[in-house]
């Protein structure tokens, strides 16, 4: 916990006890301060005179002049660095940082009135993604799964957010396969009959048996797209290995967590290992990954490169956020296009290579997300129907 986390927690506890009309009961659990200090804190917050003192002190400050001083000294000391841009750019950027910071305090900050008036939004039909999937049964029939609808068969149960296969289902020699297809703008979670959990990202397809044959290698296929696997260990299945097939590669595991990204519109397949051990096998090579490593298979020339990565950037999608650290805007927009089911046009080729760093919440609207990107990376953008143009 960083020092400010502690302060934030304590502050919200204090505010909470004030809102509950309690005295210091709630705070007694906190060992950070003595009782005298707690009383001092509470009285400073509530006491009318103390409030008045703070108010008077603040009104003596000259924030405007302070900012001008700041600008002056930065200009003098680093002549080349911070260029003064026209003021309206500050306001557009300033408005957007509120969303970047993702903090409620900012909501009262008249963001609306600060919003850049350059952004053109015509018929914004871009919707934030939701939990949804199409289940394709062994006979080819299709079932739509989405939030709010339930579905039940003898082997599986879905509440519209995930589908769970029964661990009791008996596997027969002639294996029955189901396929789960996630559309653009969707995501879904599945638990296979061996207890393996799989998170499926937008525009992905997973094919798997309704039940696995005891003691035999468990095999599933990531037809395309992105999936995060938390594999039930081999030790719980008489040593049966787990394999994830893809037309370009095969992942062999013993019981582990990893992410595979194999989109049709990308020339690389990314396999990121979080925990345990996996082997990445292709027609031409076999490589083993250790936790924290990522293999990148170039499907054009079949070479595999392995590097260490910040794994959370790779798997944050399954936790409802997108975390990017210096990601190229073109690659980032591909990720967003799948979740928001939209088209992206870059007016300037150079913009594709802008690097972006930040955290976006998957629950945010496309306009919120774009204003963050606009504040840090691009000049302007326009939305028309389901298309975003980066200007």
């Amino acid at each position: 916990m960083s020092s400010f986390d502690k302060i934030k927690l304590l502050s919200s506890k204090v505010a909470d006890s004030i809102f509950k009309g309690e005295k210091i009961e709630e705070l007694e659990k906190s060992k950070d301060l003595t009782d005298d200090e707690k009383n001092y804190v509470l009285s400073n917050i509530l006491d009318k005179n103390k409030k008045q003192e703070r108010f008077e002190f603040t009104s003596k400050l000259n924030k405007q002049r302070a900012w001008e001083n700041f600008m002056e000294s930065t200009k003098q000391k680093t002549k080349t660095k911070p260029k003064v841009k026209p003021m309206y750019r500050y306001y557009a950027a300033a408005a957007s940082i509120a969303v970047l910071l993702g903090i409620t305090f900012f909501l009262n900050d008249n963001i609306g009135s600060l919003q850049s008036n350059e952004t053109i939004i015509v018929d914004n039909n871009i919707e934030t993604g939701t939990d949804k999937a199409t289940l394709i049964l062994e006979d080819g029939s299709k079932v739509a799964l989405e939030k709010g609808t339930t579905y039940q068969t003898s082997n599986a149960n879905s509440n519209g957010e995930e589908i769970v296969y029964s661990t009791k289902a008996k596997a027969i020699k002639d294996m029955m396969y189901n396929t789960l297809a996630i559309p653009r703008g969707g995501q879904f979670h599945i638990q296979l009959s061996d207890g393996t959990k799989v998170w499926l990202n937008s525009e992905s397809q997973l094919k798997y048996p309704v039940a696995f044959v005891k003691g035999e290698t468990r095999q599933v296929e990531l037809v395309y797209g992105e999936a995060y696997f938390d594999v039930s260990p081999s030790t719980e299945h008489n040593g049966a290995k787990f394999k994830v097939f893809h037309k370009e590669q095969e992942i062999e595991v013993l019981g582990t967590e990893f992410n595979i990204k194999a989109y049709k519109d990308e020339a690389h397949i990314y396999t990121t290992l979080i925990e345990g051990s996996v082997a990445v096998n292709t027609q031409y090579s076999n490589k083993t990954l250790v936790p924290g490593e990522q293999s990148v298979l170039n499907t054009q020339n079949n070479t595999i490169a392995i590097s260490e990565v910040d794994t959370y950037n790779e798997i944050s999608w399954k936790d409802g956020i997108f975390r990017f650290q210096g990601k190229r805007l073109e690659d980032l927009m591909k990720v967003l296009a799948r979740w928001y089911d939209m088209e992206v046009i870059f007016e300037k080729e150079a913009h594709k290579n802008i690097k972006f760093k930040g955290v976006l919440k998957k629950s945010q609207s496309i306009e919120e997300v774009m204003s963050i990107i606009e504040s840090t990376s691009i000049n302007n953008y326009a939305i028309n129907n389901k298309t975003i143009t980066i200007k």
């Binding site: 302060i7 004030i18 009309g21 603040t58 400050l61 924030k63 300033a94 509120a98 970047l100 305090f105």
Partner: protein
């Protein structure tokens, strides 16, 4: 946190400045007990942070940095000027000012006050009036007399307000 090609844009930095300048000056004042010294210290800290090209992922990260930086700058200021017996007259002796608990107390006062103020401002006007007086320590009867409303009405405003405040606070906790 520090990455060379990944600094915040000036616009973002200005936003952070606008949000934090006043609370940081209030905070510095708890060490140096002087408006002008407080402003100088806070400005200097902002200039240094900009020159270093610091990157903050969110406002909390920025606060975490600036509170500590302003505390250190204030203590350094006191140490340098004390010896030269300039006019500085800190509110407590240096040993107390240097403790972690002093830092926690003063930051929590500022942060919790901001939470309380924000939540109160979001209440409907009548509720707000009642709650402000209640937090100042007035009894329900005193509030009723002061606002010219009945005792029962005060109680009902307070109950509504507490419900809403708790809801708002739950909202503020979302990470």
């Amino acid at each position: 946190m520090i990455e060379e090609n990944d600094r915040l844009s000036l616009g973002v930095f200005e936003k952070i400045f606008n949000r934090l300048y006043s609370p940081l000056c209030l905070f510095a004042n708890k060490y140096v007990n002087d408006v002008n010294y407080s402003e100088d210290i806070v400005q200097e800290v902002f200039v240094k942070a900009w020159e270093k090209g610091l990157y903050f992922e969110d406002l909390d990260k920025a606060k975490g940095f600036f509170y500590v930086a302003v505390k250190n700058a204030s203590l350094n200021f006191l140490k340098s000027h004390y010896s030269k017996s300039v006019k500085a007259h800190p509110p407590e002796n240096l040993e107390i000012l240097q403790t972690e608990n002093y830092f926690i107390k003063e930051t929590v006062i500022l942060e919790a006050s901001a939470l309380v103020e924000k939540a109160i401002e979001a209440l409907p006007p009548k509720c707000r009036e009642v709650m402000k007086l209640s937090f100042e320590g007035l009894t329900n009867q005193e509030i009723a007399n002061k606002l010219g409303i009945s005792f029962e009405t005060v109680k009902s405003y307070k109950s509504d307000a507490y419900k809403k405040l708790r809801k708002d606070l739950a909202h503020l906790r979302i990470k």
